[in-house]
């Protein structure tokens, strides 16, 4: 059984207006996506801003309401659960946020930030709680004295580690990381990515990694889903997507990765112009009459694309 199975997930936001603020229209942020996560793997959700990747992540963890569809976590539809049953499962999924500057409460000490999930879900004596927080701090490589400090006393990379310690506090099985390194400098980014890989092995974690950075995704993920306007346009292993992209949108996204060899940049710019021209000419063929992506079609066992 896969750890997580998403079936035809829809997340729609109402637009209210007019008399009594009635619902006049909806934004279909996530419009029917399906994918599965195997235990211990890293799945990358990629797309440009507004494609619905963050909405999907937030719906899975329960921060957005699921409009329709199933979120099966170990076979149980957690989108339908309420009350105690929901909160029992809620512990198993945790989130790492993008901006380590705004995702930590500036008025709380590191101790109470990391202890908060423990206080919500487990009844511990203050001694036990302190011990757990100390172990977590040690695990993410922060010094023991940082327990009494406040977030502003740390660098960006250290703050992201505090966020990771908080996510690890309840021993989750799945971690949803929404752009965890895009606000960080390259060298700090390397630190955090390495660290996330270490703890993945140690705790046998599964990651849903949401990002727009194709370089980071390529380095970090096993499989990738590419989203466009709330739907998948292509899904496959890293090798399949990067070496044999099928959908025009994927091709255009890959062409936009900067060329790291300045000698070849003119060639790359030419290739980009060519793909852009092709994109403008043929993109209609990849869309249904509503301007949404077509149904996914299987190409190999692991690779599928929304092509005709």
């Amino acid at each position: 059984m896969p750890l997580l199975e998403i079936k035809n997930l829809h997340v729609h936001y109402p637009i209210r207006g007019g008399f009594f603020r009635r619902i006049v229209d909806t934004v279909q942020a996530v419009d029917g996506i399906s994918f599965t996560l195997k235990r211990g793997e890293t799945y990358g959700l990629v797309g440009e801003s507004g494609c619905g990747k963050s909405s999907a992540g937030r719906a899975i963890i329960g921060l957005n309401r699921v409009t329709s569809g199933k979120v099966l976590f170990e076979g149980i539809d957690i989108a339908q659960l309420r009350g105690q049953a929901r909160s029992n499962h809620r512990k198993e999924i945790q989130m790492i946020f993008q901006d380590p500057y705004s995702s930590l409460n500036a008025q709380k000490t590191v101790h109470s930030i990391i202890a908060e999930p423990l206080r919500n879900f487990e009844r511990l004596s203050s001694k036990e709680e302190l011990r757990r927080v100390q172990t977590l701090l040690d695990r993410v490589g922060l010094s023991p004295e940082s327990i009494h400090k406040f977030p502003h006393q740390f660098s960006g990379g250290q703050r992201q580690r505090i966020g990771i310690a908080r996510a690890l506090a309840l021993n989750p099985k799945l971690i949803i990381a929404d752009e965890p390194v895009s606000a960080l400098d390259v060298s700090v980014q390397a630190q955090v990515l390495n660290f996330m890989q270490d703890i993945q092995k140690e705790f046998n974690l599964t990651y849903l990694f949401i990002s727009h950075d194709l370089g980071v995704i390529r380095h970090f993920c096993d499989r990738i889903g590419i989203m466009y306007k709330g739907r998948f346009v292509e899904e496959g292993t890293v090798e399949e997507i990067y070496n044999n992209p099928q959908h025009m949108y994927t091709k255009r996204l890959l062409a936009a990765i900067p060329e790291m060899d300045p000698v070849k940049r003119a060639e790359k710019a030419k290739q980009r112009r060519w793909i852009q021209a092709q994109y403008e000419e043929t993109f209609d063929r990849f869309l249904d009459p509503d301007g949404k992506a077509l149904e996914l079609k299987k190409i190999t066992d692991t690779h599928s694309a929304a092509v005709q």
Binding site: D185, H212, F220, P258, P262, V263, R273
Partner: protein
Amino acid sequence: MNNNLLDIQNLRTSFHIKGKAYAAVDGVSFTIQENEIVAIVGESGCGKSALALSIMGLHPTKTTTLEGQVAFKGENLLTIPQARFDQIRGKEIGMIFQDPMTALNPLHPVGRQIEESMGQHLALAKEERRNRTLELLKQVGIQNEQRVYKQYPHELSGGMRQRVVIAIALACDPVLLVADEPTTALDVTIQAQISDLLKELQNRTKLSILLITHDLGVVSELADRVIVMYAGEIVEMAEVATLFHYPLHPYTRSLLKSLPGQQSTKTALHVIEGIVPSIQKLDRSGCRFAPRIRWIPEQAHENDPQLHEVAPGHFVRCTCYESFHFPDDHIGDDNNAITGN
């Protein structure tokens, strides 16, 4: 060479913190030629934005001291009267800011915002200003310029807004563009479009660009020459191809090595030990990068590190690059640039 458009000599920008002055830009010298794109790279805290703001004269004068020389076409911008500076800034030097949403005024249509600086600097009639604005919008790749002219910033996408910001910077035909992280806040495909646009503008007009960024991908795509900054100083300066193929300074090499590579490998990325020192805690004697490469013996560093010209146009600070190797390298094969794979 006397076609230096911008000639910066020994620039020192100090911030006053609790009664003491700390230099964020600490003795920086370089030039920009006509029709050249010079990129300044470094991580946050290296002084690259402080440098850009010093050139534009945008630091608050009460809490900042500027020393040295910023000569633009032979005039030192640090000493000329404010009235003269106002004639140059916005006319001959344009600026592009990082975040197009905060750089634009949400209350005015974009056409009016582009015309604003023309009103200051050019003697044009209302109708001429309007025509020129429409022309500019077309130049930066906006197709339905008549409509966009009347639209407000919130009606435009991120890429369109950044194009408008570029149009504002170009409004008075500048010869130098200072671009502070022009693509950072944008999506990948839009990033590529904006870099292609800047490159095209350089080719078509006689424009020079000072590009400030932390993104080595943008540097590789755009720059003619690259300056790497660390802790307020230039640590390496070279032609773009040289810098990417034969990086010398330990900091440059570490930065290039810490990028997620082109292959999908689940091996660990290179991590630079320690953190960028804050300007108050920075030790200003000796090699400033030394604390982050402790495995290199102390005698490898100079006491007072200078910029050495190791090949024509290729400058490196300190002598530590000669004996530098990564801790996990086999000594001897340490000349691998990122393109060496």
